[in-house]
């Protein structure tokens, strides 16, 4: 479903040149959930943003469904992959009511005014339909993240990109959001890429895990290996040890 070859991202020029992602390649099968784990600054979010089409400076190739996509995406290409961001406070426009936030994707795609889909989208993520009239600041963090998920799903993308979707949330709310994501993934047959620094979340959600350090993948773990604590690189062993004190 997703194929990435030799993805390379560099920010800045000359002295301030910062080689963030160093030629990574990976594939994600249809319906699979891939996890990318690493510490801050390792380049994991940049990989995800490049996949989404938010970075403009990468080289290499990215293809969805066998078709290569470029840096500037057409509407059809954009509809293939949508993203859920880390910060539920920053990912919803503070002056747009929830109903508008959910209708915007449909309107931007030129598919009508989108109001007909809003109530259903809210119900899908377990929120009451009355929320359409609320502003984001009237919602809790978990509720906002549900809205963000609903917004990402409203265009029915086959691929969902998740950038630390629960790291700003409390543990109990995190559980609710992760369950919701798991349900939607199953129900809609989504292909997911989840980026997080939290090995527990990654291990819970993902079929396969890539460990990233300094712009490169240093290890690849399956769900079973993760459960048994098997690693193939020193870095991932240290990371797992440090994560579960």
């Amino acid at each position: 479903m997703i194929r990435v070859e030799n993805l390379d991202v560099t920010f800045g020029e000359k002295q301030q040149r910062n080689h963030v992602v160093r030629g990574v390649s990976f594939e994600v099968a249809r319906g699979e959930t891939l996890g990318i784990v690493g510490e801050s600054g390792c380049g994991k979010s940049t990989v995800l943003r490049s996949l989404a089409g938010l970075e403009g400076t990468w080289t290499g190739s990215i293809s969805f469904n066998g078709k290569p996509v470029g840096k500037n995406r057409s509407r059809e290409e954009l509809k293939l992959a949508q993203m859920v961001f880390q910060d539920p406070y920053g990912s919803l426009h503070p002056r747009h009511r929830i109903g508008r936030a959910l209708a915007e994707p449909v309107r931007s795609m030129g598919q009508g005014d989108g109001w007909s889909k809003v109530a259903e989208a809210l119900l899908q993520v377990g929120l009451p339909a009355e929320f359409v009239d609320r502003f984001p600041h009237e919602l809790s963090g978990g509720q906002r993240q549900r809205v963000a998920i609903a917004r990402a799903l409203i265009l029915s993308p086959p691929i969902l990109l998740l950038d630390e979707p629960t790291s700003a949330l409390d543990v109990s709310i995190q559980a609710e959001v992760l369950n919701l994501l798991a349900d939607k993934r199953e129900e809609l047959g989504l292909t997911c890429v989840l980026v997080s620094h939290d090995l527990a979340v990654i291990g819970h959600m993902c079929d396969r895990i890539l460990v990233m350090n300094d712009g490169m993948f240093v290890d690849e773990l399956t769900r079973d290996e993760m459960r048994l604590g098997i690693t193939h690189a020193d870095y991932s062993r240290e990371l797992i040890e440090a994560s579960f004190i």
């Binding site: 510490e39 801050s40 409390d170 543990v171 109990s172 709310i173 995190q174 559980a175 609710e176 992760l178 369950n179 798991a182 620094h197 090995l199 527990a200 979340v201 291990g203 819970h204 959600m205 769900r223 993760m226 459960r227 604590g229 240290e238 990371l239 440090a242 994560s243 579960f244 004190i245």
Partner: protein, 281 residues
């Protein structure tokens, strides 16, 4: 103070904190003792865990009203102290380590100046002594190249190093009680353990009490002798091991954490109605 037990550093009885005209107290009827030990306060956001820590330090905004039957530090009543006396106590007998070192260090002063300043303030050492002191403290928190770091500004150092510097600064005066409010949640997992170990080592060395405030019950239970679980401003349970949890909230919290070693398809979520019933009982 006749009833003062020298092993007890801090003794709090019936602490209440209310913000402004809010009907609901942010902290209600919290009582605990801290000896020369490590005690953890665990809870989710809004549980009142940070507010409790700040109430002890008297670092809450003006509109907060604090009341307590008793709040003794080494047998002295903190509630009777004037603002000026509290200012002298903070940093000397009481230390607070906050979540993000980037916001707790002064951005326009070098690390060396800041630590030296704190040495001069609390230890009364001269200018030269203070700098020597600062250097030895940096060595103490295992910073490899202390002379270089002394001349750096806060934005030039990493989060982990920043937190070490904070610890060095806070523990310089050998405080009786250290309150660490989410000291590692802004740090990467690999440095988390180092910072906690360091904190532990220094607290033991100074024979002080430590209150570790965190949302991460696993980390707290690995690190602290006693765990105080807070929910909606109240202490619901005090544990010595995470596994002994009885209260439905604590159990729900533990069950809600994903654990790769025991994979489940769906995580348990808190049954809030049941917990409300339990807490209100």
């Amino acid at each position: 103070m006749p009833d003062h037990d020298p092993a007890t550093v801090l003794s709090v009885r019936g602490l209440n904190v209310r913000f402004g005209r809010n009907a609901i107290a942010a902290v209600s009827d919290v009582s605990f003792d801290v000896g020369r030990e490590r005690i953890g306060i665990v809870g989710e956001s809004g549980s009142g865990k940070s507010t409790t820590g700040r109430a002890i330090m008297r670092l809450l905004p003006q509109k907060a009203s604090i009341s307590a039957d008793r709040m003794h530090l080494n047998g002295e009543e903190l509630l009777e102290k004037t603002e000026r006396e509290m200012g002298r106590l903070r940093g000397k007998d009481l230390a607070l380590i906050m979540q993000d070192p980037r916001y707790s260090l002064n951005p326009v002063l070098t690390i060396g100046r800041q630590i030296a300043e704190s040495a001069r303030l609390h230890l009364g050492s001269g200018k030269k002594d203070a700098l020597i002191h600062a250097r030895s403290m940096l060595e103490r928190v295992r910073i490899k190249d202390p002379d270089r770091v002394l001349g750096l500004y806060p934005h030039q150092i990493s989060g982990g190093m920043g937190q070490r510097v904070m610890i060095a600064m806070m523990l310089l005066a050998k405080p009786k009680l250290v309150i660490a409010d989410e000291p590692t949640s802004a740090l990467d997992v690999s440095v988390r353990k180092d910072v906690l170990d360091l904190l532990d080592e220094l607290v033991r060395e100074n024979d002080s009490g430590l209150i570790l405030i965190s949302h991460d019950i696993r980390m707290v239970s690995a690190f602290c002798e006693r765990i105080m679980v807070m929910y909606a401003g109240r202490v619901v349970e005090v544990l010595s091991r995470m596994e002994d949890a009885q209260h439905p909230y604590t159990r729900g919290l533990i069950a809600a954490m994903p654990d790769p070693k025991h994979p489940v398809r769906r995580l348990n979520v808190l049954d809030r109605a049941q917990i409300e019933a339990e807490v209100g009982r």
